[in-house]
């Protein structure tokens, strides 16, 4: 692994590695940022600077899934509540100790004058870059900032232009996912001259309701407000939006910093494969501390060593061409589930998932064992059984077509081979076995109550 170089040059911002802290509570102070750099982080986006706010007590709420704490986190904390002067002094101090690490100042102000002033202030403090916070979906947006800007491409474009006039250091525009088409604000930023993009900011959310007080979490004296949702649960949304930008002809040459639920090396690699060339992390640090970066770095290095990469640029964006529109998928591709009877533990979740939730293609065993049986002719290859199976590598999806034929919906459309009316025999499900509705009535749970 000795020839692996994790350093990056992100739109002119240099860092020893792509692991950055997102602008959030972990970057609230110079103490935290220096502690993070000591722990191995390559960069930090400072907690958003502006006119200091007043925060409430009770700021975070979480989704726990089964025994997993904080599968999703929601916060109603606003930007920094510390005086700008204190933050600037600490930025300066951090840069003295860590001249080669990336310190990026996240900014959120209102007027053109304020933007000009604060850009100059953070440049003078020694920041390596600026990130424009156009994403916060709680609190600040009510005052016309944060996601209120990110949701108005024209306003966003104007502010980016102001900042580009004032700034001599690289500028990253951070986007909100609370919008129907992420490419709209991204294009506005790129056209405004933004050096780079970052996404996603948090998702507008209510994480839950307290069943005694009927108030949403986090509860502030009996009331609550929508928060910004983040953590592992939001990763799929972030990956999709990242791909939307990385695959867009007018955006893809702009560097993108990936944010959203990143916790492990796998997450990091996935974001890079979809085009991110730095990643930003918040929730994982709020959960496990700065030390979580050790696992990310070790895993990333291992992956790169296994694949023979020496720099993240060797594989950045490699998955982008494989994300296509549905209509370009091969309709002749065919997989069928296969159960490894030696590994099966007999939970029969695959049976009930398929019978109730999918395509009635897994029968209960007839031989007295508890190993269910795949009904090949019913299996549409949906993957569900392999997803619910609790045993590693017990249910596998096996390819059945010989790979010689490729035909997509787009091609069939051109050839006039697509179903056109309601009972068109060219529909895929025509002829597929479906049990008679009344067969469901024979499907009762065993009565074991001993009661008549």
């Amino acid at each position: 692994m000795s020839n692996i170089d994790l350093s990056i040059n992100f739109a002119g911002i240099k860092a020893p590695n792509p692991f950055w802290l997102a602008s959030a509570p972990p970057t609230n102070s110079g103490y935290q940022v220096m502690k993070a750099f000591e722990a191995g982080w390559g960069g930090a986006v400072w907690k958003t600077l502006g006119v200091p706010v007043q925060n409430v007590s009770s700021r975070y709420g979480a989704i726990n899934y089964r025994d997993t704490r904080m599968a999703g986190l929601n916060n109603i904390e606003l930007i920094t509540d510390r005086p700008l002067a204190d933050n600037l002094r600490e930025i300066e101090e951090v840069k003295k100790y860590f001249p080669n690490h990336a310190v990026i100042a996240s900014l959120m102000v209102e007027s053109k004058k304020e933007w000009f002033q604060i850009v100059k202030d953070v440049e003078n403090a020694g920041a390596d870059g600026i990130e424009l916070n156009f994403g916060c979906p709680h609190g600040m947006c009510e005052r016309g900032m944060g996601s209120a800007v990110g949701q108005e491409p024209e306003v966003l474009n104007t502010i980016v232009q102001w900042v580009m006039q004032a700034a001599s250091i690289p500028v990253i525009t951070k986007l909100t996912p609370n919008i129907s088409d992420i490419t709209d604000p991204a294009l506005a930023a790129v056209r405004g001259g933004s050096s780079a993009l970052s996404l996603i900011n948090t998702i507008k959310s209510i994480v839950g309701i307290d069943l005694d007080t009927y108030a949403p979490y986090p509860i502030v004296d009996g009331k609550g407000t929508n928060g910004g949702y983040c953590g592992p649960a939001v990763k799929p949304i972030a990956l999709h939006m990242l791909k939307e930008l990385a695959g867009h002809p007018e955006i893809r040459n702009t560097p993108i910093s990936g944010i959203g639920g990143i916790e492990t090396w796998r997450d990091v690699v996935e974001f890079i494969l979809l085009g991110a060339t730095s990643v930003q992390v918040c929730t994982a640090v709020m959960h496990y501390g700065f030390g979580i970066v050790r696992e990310m770095e070790a895993g990333l290095r291992q992956f790169m060593s296994d694949k023979g990469y020496s720099s993240i640029y060797d594989f950045a964006g490699k998955a982008v061409p494989n994300v296509v529109e549905w209509k370009h998928l091969n309709l002749h591709y065919k997989v069928v589930a296969s159960i490894n009877a030696d590994k099966c533990i007999g939970c029969q979740l695959c049976h009930i998932a398929c019978d109730d939730g999918a395509h009635q293609a897994i029968a209960l065993p007839s031989n007295g064992s508890r190993v269910p049986e795949i009904i090949d002719e019913n299996c549409v290859g949906c993957n569900l059984c392999s997803l619910v199976c609790p045993v590693e590598d017990c249910i596998t999806m096996e390819r059945r077509d010989d790979g010689s034929k490729t035909e997509t919906w787009a091609e069939r459309t051109v050839l006039g081979k697509i179903p056109e009316h309601f009972n068109d025999p060219r529909g895929g499900g025509v002829g597929h076995f479906v049990p008679e509705p009344s067969a469901a009535l024979n499907y009762k749970r065993k009565d074991r109550s001993g009661r008549k």
Partner: protein
């Protein structure tokens, strides 16, 4: 060799008999319950003699519906708390958990069951209420697990129920015959109290039904009679010296120990004869009481022992020594037992010193008692014969539990007692309408 000091105070006793399945705290229950796969047609449900919907109650624990979890448990098993503690879960629900097929630890179903039922009992919140009074009355003989389960089920169906118990305490072998590290007296009694408070059945203590006149009176006053008689005293070995002081049956030994606790004084040398679970329990308990030498002697091979492997392992862990293929010839002693002579299959003899000889050789059936009830058939092993509805060959008399199955677990009695209540209900509806 003694690994346990003789308990001198109640605290010492509690320490020596530290619970085998201690109560979970809510964090442990939360994380443990999260492991449940929610199997379809779960094998643990089939393995449970009362068929508790185990995946459901575990999911309910995980989602914070603890009271609902307790209701699910009690809906199937009226002795849900006791069973969570005393059941051989290693052989039943936990032994069938699909995780075991992956060489992974099974769900701790017994402890989760305790957690939920304990929480319900602590809260004292009723889970069930008696059915609308249907004017019919049922007498139950014996307040053991079968009798209590039968009583609860009948109360829900609207019957008034009176239980006649020969002893001073309810729950039968749960309180009198179980190893103290499985369940304490207080725990056993509390569950009955909890059920009685909700469902309102009467228990007449120290009220043995032991003659024909008493049965006749029951028949007159009640619409049906349920026999939850359990088993009798320890069977005789039929060897010289058996009647010496210092020779005691395993069931009687456990009962005395449980009632006296730290006040029970065990001699230094103990020999337990037998290879069943009760014998192994008695040996285990002797060691925990601080006896310096405890031998468990079984006439057949180790593989042929009736006791569960895990029970024997527990006894070994407490310091018991197993001796196999040795039959007792006679018990020695002048006015009091001092030892036992055994014979090997090859005819050689050996002697073990024993100031206490515990006979773990099985309990006799209630044959004497049944003589007062003509027309109640028993099989060749002395077990009461019942039909599918748990009705005996004497109409209006139903029976379940050890007297019918020959001696099984609390959980078996709990299920049979409940089913018998349903049988009584059907019978009364048909015959006394």
């Amino acid at each position: 060799m003694a690994e346990y000091k003789r308990p001198e105070t109640p605290q010492d006793f509690i320490r020596n008999f530290a619970p085998k399945k201690p109560l979970m705290n809510s964090s442990e229950a939360y994380y443990e319950s999260a492991r449940c796969l929610y199997c379809y047609d779960a094998p643990c449900m089939d393995a449970c003699p009362t068929h508790i919907d185990i995946p459901l109650f575990i999911k309910q624990i995980n989602t914070g519906n603890i009271k609902g979890a307790a209701a699910t448990i009690y809906d199937s098993n009226w002795l849900g708390n006791a069973c969570g503690k005393v059941c051989p879960t290693e052989q039943l629900c936990e032994g069938s958990c699909v995780y075991t097929h992956q060489d992974m630890k099974p769900l701790q179903i017994g402890r989760l069951q305790n957690f939920a039922t304990e929480a319900a009992m602590q809260a004292g919140s009723p889970l069930f209420s008696p059915g609308k009074d249907n004017g019919r009355k049922v007498a139950i003989v014996g307040a053991g697990p079968a009798g209590i389960a039968c009583a609860c089920e009948l109360r829900v169906l609207g019957y008034s129920v009176e239980i006649f118990e020969a002893k001073a305490l309810p729950t039968g072998l749960t309180v009198y015959g179980t190893a103290p590290y499985k369940i304490t007296n207080e725990e056993a009694l509390r569950e009955n109290e909890y059920l009685q408070n909700q469902l309102g059945y009467t228990i007449h203590y120290n009220h043995p039904i032991q003659n024909a006149a008493q049965f006749a009176e029951l028949e007159q006053r009640f619409d049906a009679v349920f026999l939850g008689l359990g088993l009798g005293a320890t069977a005789r070995l039929g060897i010289p010296g058996e009647d010496l002081p210092g020779v005691v049956g395993a069931v009687e030994f456990v009962e005395e120990l449980r009632m006296k606790q730290s006040a029970y004084s065990i001699p230094d040398t103990v020999v337990v004869i037998g290879g069943g679970n009760t014998a192994v329990d008695a040996a285990s308990e002797s060691a925990r009481m601080g006896a310096s030498s405890v031998h468990l002697v079984y006439r057949r091979t180790k593989a042929e022992m009736g006791a569960y492997d895990f029970e024997y392992a527990t006894a070994l862990g407490a310091g018991v020594k197993g001796v196999f293929e040795a039959s007792p010839l006679h018990i020695e002693g002048e006015g009091r037992a001092t030892g036992v002579t055994f014979a090997r299959p090859d005819g050689t003899e050996f002697h073990l010193p024993a100031q206490l000889v515990i006979k773990g050789t099985g309990q006799a059936k209630q044959g004497e008692l049944l003589k007062h009830l003509p027309n109640i058939s028993t099989d060749s092993k002395g077990r009461i014969v019942v039909d599918e509805a748990f009705q005996t060959t004497r109409p209006g008399y139903f029976a379940a539990g050890d007297a019918v199955n020959g001696g099984a677990e609390v959980v078996n009695a709990a299920y049979e007692g409940k089913c018998a209540a349903q049988g009584i209900h059907q019978w009364i509806q048909t015959n006394k309408a």
